[in-house]
Amino acid sequence: MNNNPLHRLGALAAALLGVLFFFAIVGVFGLRLAIAGLAVFVLGAVVLYVAFPTAGAES
Protein backbone atom coordinates (compact mmCIF):
# COMPACT_ATOMS: atom_id res chain seq x y z
CA MET A 1 0.00 0.00 0.00
CA ASN A 2 1.21 3.52 -0.81
CA ASN A 3 1.30 6.10 1.97
CA ASN A 4 1.47 9.13 -0.31
CA PRO A 5 -1.73 11.14 0.45
CA LEU A 6 -1.97 12.32 -3.16
CA HIS A 7 -1.98 8.74 -4.39
CA ARG A 8 -4.62 7.81 -1.80
CA LEU A 9 -6.74 10.74 -2.95
CA GLY A 10 -6.28 9.58 -6.55
CA ALA A 11 -7.36 6.05 -5.64
CA LEU A 12 -10.44 7.42 -3.84
CA ALA A 13 -11.31 9.60 -6.85
CA ALA A 14 -10.92 6.60 -9.17
CA ALA A 15 -13.19 4.52 -6.91
CA LEU A 16 -15.87 7.24 -6.81
CA LEU A 17 -15.64 7.67 -10.57
CA GLY A 18 -16.05 3.90 -10.91
CA VAL A 19 -19.22 3.96 -8.77
CA LEU A 20 -20.57 6.88 -10.83
CA PHE A 21 -19.91 5.01 -14.09
CA PHE A 22 -21.56 1.87 -12.69
CA PHE A 23 -24.71 3.79 -11.72
CA ALA A 24 -24.77 5.53 -15.10
CA ILE A 25 -24.28 2.32 -17.10
CA VAL A 26 -27.03 0.41 -15.22
CA GLY A 27 -29.40 3.14 -16.36
CA VAL A 28 -30.03 5.06 -13.11
CA PHE A 29 -29.78 8.36 -15.04
CA GLY A 30 -31.68 7.11 -18.10
CA LEU A 31 -30.84 5.23 -21.28
CA ARG A 32 -29.08 8.10 -23.04
CA LEU A 33 -26.67 8.64 -20.16
CA ALA A 34 -26.20 4.87 -19.89
CA ILE A 35 -25.05 4.72 -23.52
CA ALA A 36 -22.90 7.84 -23.05
CA GLY A 37 -21.42 6.44 -19.82
CA LEU A 38 -20.57 3.15 -21.53
CA ALA A 39 -19.01 4.93 -24.50
CA VAL A 40 -16.91 7.23 -22.29
CA PHE A 41 -15.79 4.32 -20.06
CA VAL A 42 -14.74 2.14 -23.00
CA LEU A 43 -13.07 5.04 -24.81
CA GLY A 44 -11.23 6.03 -21.62
CA ALA A 45 -10.04 2.46 -21.12
CA VAL A 46 -8.78 2.22 -24.70
CA VAL A 47 -6.94 5.57 -24.37
CA LEU A 48 -5.28 4.22 -21.20
CA TYR A 49 -4.25 0.99 -22.96
CA VAL A 50 -2.67 2.98 -25.78
CA ALA A 51 -0.94 5.44 -23.44
CA PHE A 52 0.25 2.78 -20.97
CA PRO A 53 0.80 -0.43 -22.94
CA THR A 54 1.67 -3.59 -21.03
CA ALA A 55 1.32 -6.25 -23.75
CA GLY A 56 4.57 -8.09 -24.36
CA ALA A 57 6.02 -6.29 -21.32
CA GLU A 58 9.50 -7.27 -20.25
CA SER A 59 9.98 -8.11 -16.58
Binding site: A14, A15, F22, A34, A55, G56, A57, E58, S59
Partner: protein, 473 residues
Protein backbone atom coordinates in the same frame (compact mmCIF):
# COMPACT_ATOMS: atom_id res chain seq x y z
CA UNK B 1 -39.83 -43.73 -0.20
CA UNK B 2 -41.85 -42.75 -3.28
CA UNK B 3 -39.79 -40.93 -5.90
CA UNK B 4 -41.37 -38.32 -8.14
CA UNK B 5 -40.31 -38.76 -11.83
CA UNK B 6 -40.88 -35.06 -12.58
CA UNK B 7 -38.51 -34.00 -9.78
CA UNK B 8 -35.91 -36.58 -10.81
CA UNK B 9 -36.11 -35.55 -14.47
CA UNK B 10 -35.58 -31.93 -13.47
CA UNK B 11 -32.66 -32.74 -11.14
CA UNK B 12 -31.05 -34.83 -13.86
CA UNK B 13 -31.39 -32.16 -16.54
CA UNK B 14 -30.29 -29.42 -14.13
CA UNK B 15 -27.19 -31.43 -13.22
CA UNK B 16 -26.17 -32.35 -16.76
CA UNK B 17 -26.86 -28.93 -18.27
CA UNK B 18 -25.08 -27.11 -15.39
CA UNK B 19 -22.06 -29.33 -15.93
CA UNK B 20 -22.20 -28.84 -19.71
CA UNK B 21 -22.48 -25.05 -19.74
CA UNK B 22 -19.15 -24.64 -17.93
CA UNK B 23 -17.25 -25.94 -20.95
CA UNK B 24 -18.89 -24.08 -23.87
CA UNK B 25 -18.59 -20.89 -21.81
CA UNK B 26 -14.84 -21.47 -21.52
CA UNK B 27 -14.37 -22.57 -25.11
CA UNK B 28 -16.38 -19.68 -26.64
CA UNK B 29 -14.26 -17.19 -24.67
CA UNK B 30 -10.93 -18.96 -25.12
CA UNK B 31 -11.45 -19.49 -28.90
CA UNK B 32 -11.71 -15.74 -29.43
CA UNK B 33 -8.83 -15.09 -27.02
CA UNK B 34 -6.69 -17.55 -29.02
CA UNK B 35 -7.63 -15.78 -32.27
CA UNK B 36 -6.56 -12.44 -30.74
CA UNK B 37 -3.23 -13.78 -29.44
CA UNK B 38 -2.44 -15.49 -32.74
CA UNK B 39 -3.23 -12.26 -34.60
CA UNK B 40 -0.90 -10.38 -32.25
CA UNK B 41 1.81 -13.00 -32.84
CA UNK B 42 1.44 -12.70 -36.62
CA UNK B 43 1.51 -8.91 -36.40
CA UNK B 44 4.34 -8.40 -33.91
CA UNK B 45 6.31 -11.67 -34.27
CA UNK B 46 6.87 -11.60 -30.50
CA UNK B 47 7.36 -15.20 -29.32
CA UNK B 48 5.45 -14.51 -26.11
CA UNK B 49 2.15 -14.40 -28.02
CA UNK B 50 2.80 -17.82 -29.55
CA UNK B 51 3.73 -19.04 -26.09
CA UNK B 52 0.38 -17.78 -24.75
CA UNK B 53 -1.44 -19.34 -27.70
CA UNK B 54 0.12 -22.76 -27.20
CA UNK B 55 -0.45 -22.68 -23.46
CA UNK B 56 -4.18 -21.88 -23.65
CA UNK B 57 -4.75 -24.08 -26.70
CA UNK B 58 -4.30 -27.19 -24.55
CA UNK B 59 -6.84 -26.06 -21.96
CA UNK B 60 -9.22 -24.98 -24.74
CA UNK B 61 -8.94 -28.40 -26.43
CA UNK B 62 -9.78 -30.25 -23.21
CA UNK B 63 -12.75 -27.98 -22.51
CA UNK B 64 -13.99 -28.26 -26.08
CA UNK B 65 -13.88 -32.07 -25.95
CA UNK B 66 -15.84 -32.30 -22.70
CA UNK B 67 -18.30 -29.66 -23.95
CA UNK B 68 -19.07 -31.71 -27.07
CA UNK B 69 -19.58 -34.98 -25.21
CA UNK B 70 -21.77 -33.48 -22.49
CA UNK B 71 -23.75 -31.51 -25.09
CA UNK B 72 -24.74 -34.68 -26.95
CA UNK B 73 -26.18 -36.07 -23.71
CA UNK B 74 -28.63 -33.15 -23.48
CA UNK B 75 -30.30 -33.99 -26.79
CA UNK B 76 -30.87 -37.56 -25.60
CA UNK B 77 -32.28 -36.29 -22.33
CA UNK B 78 -35.09 -34.56 -24.21
CA UNK B 79 -36.26 -38.09 -24.97
CA UNK B 80 -35.33 -39.68 -21.67
CA UNK B 81 -36.70 -37.07 -19.29
CA UNK B 82 -38.87 -34.67 -21.30
CA UNK B 83 -40.42 -36.68 -24.14
CA UNK B 84 -43.69 -34.75 -23.97
CA UNK B 85 -41.77 -31.51 -24.39
CA UNK B 86 -39.94 -32.97 -27.41
CA UNK B 87 -43.23 -34.23 -28.82
CA UNK B 88 -44.91 -30.85 -28.51
CA UNK B 89 -42.05 -28.46 -29.29
CA UNK B 90 -40.05 -30.66 -31.69
CA UNK B 91 -41.16 -28.82 -34.84
CA UNK B 92 -39.67 -25.56 -33.48
CA UNK B 93 -36.74 -26.76 -31.35
CA UNK B 94 -35.58 -29.75 -33.45
CA UNK B 95 -34.52 -27.81 -36.57
CA UNK B 96 -32.64 -25.24 -34.45
CA UNK B 97 -30.56 -27.95 -32.77
CA UNK B 98 -30.00 -29.73 -36.11
CA UNK B 99 -28.87 -26.44 -37.67
CA UNK B 100 -26.49 -25.87 -34.77
CA UNK B 101 -24.80 -29.18 -35.54
CA UNK B 102 -24.76 -28.61 -39.31
CA UNK B 103 -23.61 -25.00 -39.43
CA UNK B 104 -21.57 -24.55 -36.29
CA UNK B 105 -20.34 -27.84 -34.91
CA UNK B 106 -19.16 -29.12 -38.31
CA UNK B 107 -17.28 -25.84 -38.82
CA UNK B 108 -15.65 -26.01 -35.39
CA UNK B 109 -14.82 -29.72 -35.58
CA UNK B 110 -13.46 -29.40 -39.13
CA UNK B 111 -11.00 -26.63 -38.33
CA UNK B 112 -10.18 -27.82 -34.80
CA UNK B 113 -7.79 -30.44 -36.20
CA UNK B 114 -5.83 -27.78 -38.09
CA UNK B 115 -5.87 -25.56 -35.01
CA UNK B 116 -4.47 -28.33 -32.79
CA UNK B 117 -2.05 -30.07 -35.11
CA UNK B 118 -1.52 -27.81 -38.10
CA UNK B 119 0.72 -24.92 -37.08
CA UNK B 120 3.86 -26.48 -38.52
CA UNK B 121 2.04 -28.17 -41.35
CA UNK B 122 -0.14 -25.52 -43.00
CA UNK B 123 1.75 -22.39 -41.98
CA UNK B 124 0.82 -19.50 -39.74
CA UNK B 125 -1.68 -17.62 -41.91
CA UNK B 126 -3.78 -20.64 -42.80
CA UNK B 127 -3.53 -21.73 -39.19
CA UNK B 128 -4.82 -18.33 -38.07
CA UNK B 129 -7.72 -18.76 -40.50
CA UNK B 130 -8.51 -22.11 -38.85
CA UNK B 131 -8.43 -20.50 -35.39
CA UNK B 132 -10.82 -17.77 -36.59
CA UNK B 133 -13.16 -20.39 -38.08
CA UNK B 134 -13.27 -22.25 -34.75
CA UNK B 135 -13.98 -18.98 -32.92
CA UNK B 136 -16.73 -18.07 -35.42
CA UNK B 137 -18.12 -21.61 -35.13
CA UNK B 138 -18.50 -21.21 -31.37
CA UNK B 139 -20.39 -17.93 -31.95
CA UNK B 140 -22.77 -19.50 -34.47
CA UNK B 141 -23.28 -22.45 -32.15
CA UNK B 142 -24.17 -20.15 -29.27
CA UNK B 143 -26.57 -18.22 -31.53
CA UNK B 144 -28.63 -21.33 -32.43
CA UNK B 145 -28.73 -22.68 -28.88
CA UNK B 146 -29.62 -19.28 -27.41
CA UNK B 147 -32.32 -18.94 -30.05
CA UNK B 148 -33.83 -22.30 -29.01
CA UNK B 149 -33.61 -21.50 -25.30
CA UNK B 150 -34.90 -17.95 -25.75
CA UNK B 151 -37.87 -19.32 -27.69
CA UNK B 152 -38.68 -21.39 -24.58
CA UNK B 153 -38.47 -18.18 -22.51
CA UNK B 154 -40.43 -15.97 -24.93
CA UNK B 155 -42.16 -18.22 -27.47
CA UNK B 156 -43.14 -16.57 -30.76
CA UNK B 157 -43.88 -17.47 -34.38
CA UNK B 158 -45.92 -20.60 -33.61
CA UNK B 159 -49.51 -21.77 -33.33
CA UNK B 160 -50.70 -24.59 -31.08
CA UNK B 161 -52.76 -27.22 -32.91
CA UNK B 162 -53.92 -30.46 -31.21
CA UNK B 163 -51.30 -30.09 -28.49
CA UNK B 164 -48.45 -29.62 -30.97
CA UNK B 165 -46.48 -26.57 -32.00
CA UNK B 166 -46.78 -25.53 -35.63
CA UNK B 167 -44.32 -22.96 -36.90
CA UNK B 168 -46.02 -20.02 -38.59
CA UNK B 169 -42.96 -17.77 -38.89
CA UNK B 170 -39.41 -19.08 -38.65
CA UNK B 171 -38.13 -15.52 -38.42
CA UNK B 172 -40.15 -14.97 -35.25
CA UNK B 173 -39.07 -18.32 -33.82
CA UNK B 174 -35.40 -17.45 -34.41
CA UNK B 175 -35.52 -13.77 -33.55
CA UNK B 176 -37.88 -14.13 -30.60
CA UNK B 177 -38.31 -11.18 -28.19
CA UNK B 178 -35.53 -12.15 -25.73
CA UNK B 179 -32.91 -13.63 -28.11
CA UNK B 180 -31.47 -10.30 -29.27
CA UNK B 181 -30.59 -9.41 -25.66
CA UNK B 182 -29.79 -12.85 -24.27
CA UNK B 183 -27.29 -13.72 -27.02
CA UNK B 184 -24.91 -10.77 -26.43
CA UNK B 185 -25.35 -11.26 -22.66
CA UNK B 186 -24.21 -14.89 -22.94
CA UNK B 187 -21.39 -14.16 -25.39
CA UNK B 188 -20.03 -11.36 -23.21
CA UNK B 189 -20.25 -13.71 -20.22
CA UNK B 190 -18.11 -16.23 -22.13
CA UNK B 191 -15.52 -13.61 -23.07
CA UNK B 192 -15.42 -12.35 -19.48
CA UNK B 193 -14.92 -15.92 -18.28
CA UNK B 194 -11.88 -16.28 -20.53
CA UNK B 195 -10.55 -12.81 -19.58
CA UNK B 196 -10.67 -13.58 -15.84
CA UNK B 197 -9.22 -17.06 -16.37
CA UNK B 198 -6.17 -15.82 -18.26
CA UNK B 199 -5.69 -12.83 -15.96
CA UNK B 200 -5.99 -15.09 -12.90
CA UNK B 201 -3.37 -17.56 -14.15
CA UNK B 202 -1.04 -14.66 -15.08
CA UNK B 203 -1.52 -13.19 -11.59
CA UNK B 204 -0.71 -16.58 -10.03
CA UNK B 205 2.60 -16.81 -11.90
CA UNK B 206 3.50 -13.25 -10.86
CA UNK B 207 2.75 -14.06 -7.21
CA UNK B 208 5.00 -17.11 -7.50
CA UNK B 209 7.67 -15.12 -9.38
CA UNK B 210 7.54 -17.47 -12.39
CA UNK B 211 7.33 -16.99 -16.18
CA UNK B 212 7.44 -13.20 -15.82
CA UNK B 213 7.03 -12.10 -19.42
CA UNK B 214 4.29 -14.62 -20.15
CA UNK B 215 2.49 -13.68 -16.93
CA UNK B 216 2.71 -9.92 -17.53
CA UNK B 217 1.46 -10.18 -21.10
CA UNK B 218 -1.37 -12.55 -20.15
CA UNK B 219 -2.42 -10.40 -17.20
CA UNK B 220 -2.21 -7.23 -19.28
CA UNK B 221 -4.43 -8.71 -22.00
CA UNK B 222 -6.85 -10.33 -19.54
CA UNK B 223 -7.45 -7.19 -17.46
CA UNK B 224 -7.72 -5.01 -20.59
CA UNK B 225 -10.47 -7.21 -22.01
CA UNK B 226 -12.14 -7.64 -18.62
CA UNK B 227 -12.44 -3.87 -17.96
CA UNK B 228 -14.11 -3.16 -21.30
CA UNK B 229 -16.26 -6.31 -21.34
CA UNK B 230 -17.70 -5.92 -17.84
CA UNK B 231 -18.86 -2.38 -18.65
CA UNK B 232 -20.61 -3.73 -21.74
CA UNK B 233 -22.04 -6.65 -19.78
CA UNK B 234 -23.54 -4.42 -17.10
CA UNK B 235 -25.21 -2.34 -19.83
CA UNK B 236 -26.55 -5.38 -21.72
CA UNK B 237 -27.70 -6.94 -18.44
CA UNK B 238 -29.75 -3.88 -17.61
CA UNK B 239 -31.40 -3.89 -21.04
CA UNK B 240 -32.14 -7.62 -20.67
CA UNK B 241 -33.62 -6.95 -17.22
CA UNK B 242 -36.13 -4.56 -18.81
CA UNK B 243 -37.00 -7.09 -21.52
CA UNK B 244 -37.61 -9.89 -19.01
CA UNK B 245 -39.64 -7.56 -16.79
CA UNK B 246 -41.92 -7.04 -19.77
CA UNK B 247 -42.15 -10.67 -20.90
CA UNK B 248 -41.63 -12.67 -17.67
CA UNK B 249 -42.49 -10.34 -14.77
CA UNK B 250 -42.71 -13.23 -12.27
CA UNK B 251 -39.01 -14.01 -12.79
CA UNK B 252 -37.89 -10.48 -11.98
CA UNK B 253 -40.37 -10.19 -9.09
CA UNK B 254 -38.80 -13.31 -7.56
CA UNK B 255 -35.29 -12.01 -8.30
CA UNK B 256 -35.84 -8.88 -6.20
CA UNK B 257 -37.24 -10.59 -3.10
CA UNK B 258 -40.44 -8.53 -2.64
CA UNK B 259 -43.79 -10.23 -1.97
CA UNK B 260 -46.38 -7.43 -1.75
CA UNK B 261 -47.92 -6.20 -5.01
CA UNK B 262 -46.18 -2.87 -4.42
CA UNK B 263 -43.14 -2.64 -2.17
CA UNK B 264 -42.67 0.04 0.46
CA UNK B 265 -41.44 3.44 -0.69
CA UNK B 266 -38.49 3.97 -0.83
CA UNK B 267 -37.63 0.34 -1.62
CA UNK B 268 -34.47 -1.19 -0.19
CA UNK B 269 -32.20 -3.43 -2.25
CA UNK B 270 -32.18 -6.81 -0.49
CA UNK B 271 -28.94 -8.80 -0.28
CA UNK B 272 -30.18 -11.47 2.10
CA UNK B 273 -33.70 -12.81 2.64
CA UNK B 274 -35.28 -15.91 4.16
CA UNK B 275 -38.35 -16.39 1.96
CA UNK B 276 -41.46 -18.25 3.17
CA UNK B 277 -43.23 -19.24 -0.06
CA UNK B 278 -46.18 -20.91 1.72
CA UNK B 279 -47.07 -17.75 3.66
CA UNK B 280 -45.97 -15.39 0.86
CA UNK B 281 -43.62 -13.36 3.03
CA UNK B 282 -39.99 -13.05 4.06
CA UNK B 283 -39.03 -14.32 7.52
CA UNK B 284 -35.94 -12.14 7.44
CA UNK B 285 -34.67 -9.38 5.16
CA UNK B 286 -31.39 -7.48 4.98
CA UNK B 287 -30.88 -4.76 2.41
CA UNK B 288 -29.57 -1.30 1.63
CA UNK B 289 -32.21 1.46 2.05
CA UNK B 290 -33.19 3.47 -1.07
CA UNK B 291 -31.00 1.38 -3.39
CA UNK B 292 -33.93 -0.75 -4.63
CA UNK B 293 -35.81 2.38 -5.75
CA UNK B 294 -32.68 3.88 -7.30
CA UNK B 295 -31.55 0.78 -9.21
CA UNK B 296 -34.91 -0.75 -10.11
CA UNK B 297 -37.14 2.28 -10.67
CA UNK B 298 -34.44 4.91 -11.33
CA UNK B 299 -36.03 7.24 -8.75
CA UNK B 300 -35.52 7.92 -5.04
CA UNK B 301 -38.98 6.75 -3.93
CA UNK B 302 -40.18 4.29 -6.60
CA UNK B 303 -41.99 1.08 -5.59
CA UNK B 304 -41.01 -2.37 -6.84
CA UNK B 305 -43.53 -5.05 -7.90
CA UNK B 306 -43.63 -8.13 -5.69
CA UNK B 307 -44.37 -11.78 -6.41
CA UNK B 308 -48.01 -11.56 -5.24
CA UNK B 309 -48.72 -9.98 -8.63
CA UNK B 310 -48.38 -13.51 -10.02
CA UNK B 311 -50.98 -16.17 -9.08
CA UNK B 312 -49.58 -18.64 -6.54
CA UNK B 313 -49.69 -21.66 -8.86
CA UNK B 314 -47.68 -19.77 -11.49
CA UNK B 315 -44.95 -18.45 -9.17
CA UNK B 316 -41.33 -19.60 -9.38
CA UNK B 317 -39.54 -20.50 -6.10
CA UNK B 318 -38.29 -17.14 -4.85
CA UNK B 319 -35.23 -18.40 -2.95
CA UNK B 320 -33.57 -20.03 -5.99
CA UNK B 321 -34.16 -17.09 -8.32
CA UNK B 322 -33.23 -14.45 -5.73
CA UNK B 323 -29.90 -15.98 -4.69
CA UNK B 324 -28.87 -16.95 -8.22
CA UNK B 325 -29.50 -13.34 -9.28
CA UNK B 326 -27.65 -11.92 -6.28
CA UNK B 327 -24.59 -14.13 -6.91
CA UNK B 328 -24.48 -13.08 -10.57
CA UNK B 329 -25.00 -9.40 -9.80
CA UNK B 330 -22.55 -9.32 -6.89
CA UNK B 331 -19.88 -10.95 -9.07
CA UNK B 332 -20.59 -8.42 -11.83
CA UNK B 333 -20.02 -5.58 -9.34
CA UNK B 334 -16.77 -7.13 -8.11
CA UNK B 335 -15.65 -7.59 -11.73
CA UNK B 336 -16.49 -3.95 -12.47
CA UNK B 337 -14.49 -2.84 -9.42
CA UNK B 338 -11.57 -4.98 -10.59
CA UNK B 339 -11.84 -3.44 -14.06
CA UNK B 340 -11.66 0.08 -12.59
CA UNK B 341 -8.80 -0.92 -10.26
CA UNK B 342 -6.86 -2.43 -13.17
CA UNK B 343 -7.17 0.82 -15.12
CA UNK B 344 -5.96 2.84 -12.12
CA UNK B 345 -3.03 0.48 -11.48
CA UNK B 346 -2.10 0.50 -15.16
CA UNK B 347 -2.05 4.31 -15.04
CA UNK B 348 0.16 4.17 -11.93
CA UNK B 349 2.43 1.53 -13.51
CA UNK B 350 1.66 -0.94 -10.68
CA UNK B 351 -0.49 -3.48 -12.47
CA UNK B 352 2.07 -6.26 -12.05
CA UNK B 353 3.44 -5.39 -8.64
CA UNK B 354 0.37 -4.77 -6.43
CA UNK B 355 0.20 -8.10 -4.62
CA UNK B 356 -3.24 -7.46 -3.13
CA UNK B 357 -4.59 -6.99 -6.67
CA UNK B 358 -2.80 -10.11 -7.94
CA UNK B 359 -4.32 -12.16 -5.12
CA UNK B 360 -7.80 -10.88 -5.96
CA UNK B 361 -7.28 -11.75 -9.63
CA UNK B 362 -6.05 -15.24 -8.71
CA UNK B 363 -9.17 -15.83 -6.58
CA UNK B 364 -11.37 -14.49 -9.39
CA UNK B 365 -10.05 -17.06 -11.92
CA UNK B 366 -13.31 -19.12 -11.91
CA UNK B 367 -15.59 -16.10 -11.31
CA UNK B 368 -16.86 -15.98 -14.89
CA UNK B 369 -18.00 -19.60 -14.72
CA UNK B 370 -19.77 -19.07 -11.38
CA UNK B 371 -21.51 -15.91 -12.65
CA UNK B 372 -22.60 -17.65 -15.87
CA UNK B 373 -23.99 -20.61 -13.94
CA UNK B 374 -25.86 -18.25 -11.61
CA UNK B 375 -27.25 -16.37 -14.62
CA UNK B 376 -28.55 -19.59 -16.14
CA UNK B 377 -30.18 -20.54 -12.82
CA UNK B 378 -32.00 -17.19 -12.87
CA UNK B 379 -33.15 -17.86 -16.44
CA UNK B 380 -34.28 -21.44 -15.87
CA UNK B 381 -35.63 -21.46 -12.30
CA UNK B 382 -37.28 -18.07 -12.90
CA UNK B 383 -39.23 -19.49 -15.84
CA UNK B 384 -40.87 -22.15 -13.65
CA UNK B 385 -43.46 -23.63 -13.48
CA UNK B 386 -43.26 -23.39 -17.25
CA UNK B 387 -40.88 -25.22 -19.54
CA UNK B 388 -42.20 -23.20 -22.53
CA UNK B 389 -43.33 -19.98 -20.90
CA UNK B 390 -47.12 -19.67 -20.93
CA UNK B 391 -47.49 -22.72 -23.19
CA UNK B 392 -46.35 -25.93 -21.47
CA UNK B 393 -45.80 -26.58 -17.78
CA UNK B 394 -42.73 -28.54 -16.67
CA UNK B 395 -44.81 -31.21 -14.89
CA UNK B 396 -46.69 -31.84 -18.14
CA UNK B 397 -43.49 -32.15 -20.15
CA UNK B 398 -41.95 -35.11 -18.31
CA UNK B 399 -41.58 -38.52 -20.00
CA UNK B 400 -43.84 -41.37 -18.85
CA UNK B 401 -40.84 -43.34 -17.56
CA UNK B 402 -40.50 -44.99 -14.13
CA UNK B 403 -38.68 -43.03 -11.44
CA UNK B 404 -36.07 -45.79 -11.00
CA UNK B 405 -34.96 -45.38 -14.66
CA UNK B 406 -34.36 -41.67 -14.06
CA UNK B 407 -32.65 -42.30 -10.73
CA UNK B 408 -30.27 -44.92 -12.11
CA UNK B 409 -29.30 -42.73 -15.09
CA UNK B 410 -28.86 -39.76 -12.76
CA UNK B 411 -26.44 -41.78 -10.59
CA UNK B 412 -24.60 -42.88 -13.75
CA UNK B 413 -24.29 -39.27 -14.94
CA UNK B 414 -22.97 -38.12 -11.56
CA UNK B 415 -20.30 -40.86 -11.60
CA UNK B 416 -19.19 -40.32 -15.22
CA UNK B 417 -19.20 -36.51 -14.94
CA UNK B 418 -17.28 -36.81 -11.68
CA UNK B 419 -14.53 -38.55 -13.65
CA UNK B 420 -14.70 -35.87 -16.38
CA UNK B 421 -14.36 -32.93 -14.03
CA UNK B 422 -11.62 -34.61 -12.00
CA UNK B 423 -9.64 -35.37 -15.16
CA UNK B 424 -10.12 -31.82 -16.45
CA UNK B 425 -9.03 -30.21 -13.19
CA UNK B 426 -6.04 -32.52 -12.75
CA UNK B 427 -4.76 -31.96 -16.30
CA UNK B 428 -5.48 -28.20 -16.24
CA UNK B 429 -3.62 -27.91 -12.92
CA UNK B 430 -0.74 -29.91 -14.39
CA UNK B 431 -0.55 -27.61 -17.43
CA UNK B 432 -0.61 -24.52 -15.20
CA UNK B 433 2.00 -25.98 -12.81
CA UNK B 434 4.30 -26.89 -15.70
CA UNK B 435 3.95 -23.42 -17.21
CA UNK B 436 4.33 -22.24 -20.78
CA UNK B 437 6.84 -23.91 -23.06
CA UNK B 438 9.41 -21.86 -24.98
CA UNK B 439 8.20 -20.78 -28.40
CA UNK B 440 9.94 -19.47 -31.49
CA UNK B 441 8.75 -16.34 -33.26
CA UNK B 442 8.18 -18.15 -36.55
CA UNK B 443 6.29 -21.25 -37.64
CA UNK B 444 8.18 -23.40 -40.12
CA UNK B 445 5.69 -24.46 -42.77
CA UNK B 446 5.10 -22.61 -46.02
CA UNK B 447 1.47 -21.78 -45.43
CA UNK B 448 0.05 -23.92 -48.22
CA UNK B 449 -2.27 -26.88 -47.73
CA UNK B 450 -0.30 -28.78 -50.35
CA UNK B 451 2.76 -28.51 -48.16
CA UNK B 452 0.89 -30.01 -45.25
CA UNK B 453 0.41 -33.30 -47.09
CA UNK B 454 4.02 -33.71 -48.23
CA UNK B 455 5.51 -36.83 -46.69
CA UNK B 456 8.48 -35.00 -45.14
CA UNK B 457 6.10 -32.72 -43.28
CA UNK B 458 3.79 -35.51 -42.22
CA UNK B 459 6.60 -37.80 -41.10
CA UNK B 460 9.22 -35.39 -39.78
CA UNK B 461 9.76 -36.04 -36.07
CA UNK B 462 11.26 -32.54 -35.64
CA UNK B 463 8.18 -30.86 -36.91
CA UNK B 464 5.92 -33.11 -34.91
CA UNK B 465 7.97 -32.30 -31.85
CA UNK B 466 7.12 -28.63 -32.37
CA UNK B 467 3.38 -29.16 -32.55
CA UNK B 468 1.47 -27.72 -29.59
CA UNK B 469 0.12 -31.08 -28.51
CA UNK B 470 3.32 -33.12 -28.67
CA UNK B 471 5.20 -30.42 -26.79
CA UNK B 472 2.99 -31.03 -23.81
CA UNK B 473 3.32 -34.81 -23.75
Amino acid sequence: MKLDPSILARIQFAFTVSFHIIFPTMSIGLASFLAVTEALWLKTKKPVYLQIYKFWLNIFAMGFGIGVVTGIVLSFEFGLGFARFAQMAGPAIGPLIALEVLTAFFLEAGFLGIMLFGLHRVGPKLHFFATCMVAIGTLISASWILSANSWMQTPAGVAIQDGHVTVVSWLHVLVNPSWLHRLPHMLTAAYLTAAFMVAGVGAWYLLKGKHQQFARTTLGLGTAFAAVLIAGQVFIGDILYGTMLEHQPSKMQAAEGFWEKQSQSPAPYYWFIVPDQDNQRNRFELGIPYLGSIWLTHSLDGRVQGLKNTPRDLQPRMGMVFYAFRIMYALAMVMFAIGVASLWLRFRGKLFTSRWFLWILAFMTPSGIIATLAGWYVAETGRQPWVIYGVLKTVDAVSPVPARALLSTLIAFVCVYGVFITAFLVFAARIIRRGPAEASAHAEASGSVKNAFRPYVLDSPDRLANSPITQRS
